[in-house]
Symmetry: D2
Subunit: 139 residues, 4 copies
């Protein structure tokens, strides 16, 4: 799936979050996803909430995997680890850069580095493992 197909898939399957995310770049084993920060993502002190950053890492790795295996909406996160390292810069979007580390028959692994736009030092990192469902019989 290319950027257009992934964007359409996201809009169709995840209507609640479709406006939060935009694919900025996609290669065979990397993706960059922008999170448009709005009031709903914020916590006291103006920081982006942990669950919002988790959502960004999760959807980014998911889209990267889908770009390789096709629209398997049933692929599910099985494991995640995430480190929160710095407070995001105020008033700017977050950018999430992912690498596909493994794409196996049953498991796929990707990691993610999240930065505030225009700032080099990373805000957070994550690694996510997805379970890939067996291929449905052709119908």
């Amino acid at each position: 799936m290319d950027t257009g197909q992934l964007t359409a898939f996201l809009a169709r399957e995840f209507p609640q979050v479709r406006d939060d995310f935009a694919i900025e770049d996609l290669t065979a084993d990397t993706i960059r996803v922008r999170m448009r920060i709005v009031e709903r993502h914020l916590r006291p002190g103006g920081t982006v909430s942990g669950p919002s950053m988790f959502a960004l890492a999760d959807v980014s790795v998911y889209l990267m995997i889908l770009s390789r295996i096709g629209p398997e909406a049933l692929a599910v996160t099985t494991t995640s680890s995430m480190d929160f390292m710095r407070k995001p810069a105020a008033g700017v979007d977050l950018l999430c850069d992912c690498r596909l580390l493994k794409l196996g028959r049953v498991l796929a692994v990707g990691d993610a580095l999240i930065r505030s736009e225009g700032v080099e030092a990373p805000v957070a990192r994550a690694t996510l493992t997805y379970s890939i469902p067996p291929k449905r019989a052709a119908g």
Copy 2:
């Protein structure tokens, strides 16, 4: 802080999520938190989204720590690991049981087990580490 104080703190500091969570039980080193599942938490197939479950584990461990150290709204999550093991049961709330594993001078660690109400087999587990800010000078 007791259950009433924690609930008031949550309502004041996290107005966006105050209606999602309710403290069901609190001891010196455990807490049970209910997540009231609504449409906004769901994903295709009726499952609760990963970020929603992350939010449940995160807030639960946070409240458990606050119950011991007082209303330090600036305590921040530094590290998390989470495993998603089963699809939640449809149409019921999630219950999150946490244990405080460490409460040190600068770091606190808690783990969490999430179940669908009325179902024994766990849906997810998480461990979260919080960084505790140095005490502000008395004023």
Copy 3:
């Protein structure tokens, strides 16, 4: 597999570490494993090394899974998270208590709490995911 069968399996398949570990208790979904601490496990200051504690958690969850699925020496660790919370007590063994959280068709998940013998406060915790190989054709 019962305790005797697991012990024999460990001795046969992992001769390098067979003397480090002893199964103290085994139920349908829990196991307690003792690690006999010797010089080789120690680090400066008399603490047990992180890799030694990782080995204890890893073998404990592995044996618990084998007790349920039989001697699948090819089951492999896919993901782990581990938190080191306190310095172990000097001069005593470590005890590792595991729970089986999931035993699926392709993935099994267990968590582990490590304590110094005779001390309640936990030294470390871990969660490990194992990939279970497809059954070999009967021969």
Copy 4:
């Protein structure tokens, strides 16, 4: 500390493992460490054991942090996550490439990618958090 100082520190403080590791490259925020694979590191099927790979990631991030803060032998691992993605190639060493993601006042975070020498696809990845002890009073 430069490569020579780190190597001398490792030999002095960790005599049990000094021959396992060699620093191949060191910059301000990266390190490459070689693990010389010997019989003691292996498991059935010729694979390198999980605890051996954990040790490689742990010592690599530790040395990278020491290169910046000096010989703080008391810096301790507080949290780790690790994913095992492929079986290492037989008969070759492992190389571990680390990045320093955060070097704060009390916490440092680094991640690690482990490959078999001469093979591009990664064998494992890890992220480790270290707690940095307060500076001792000058003496």
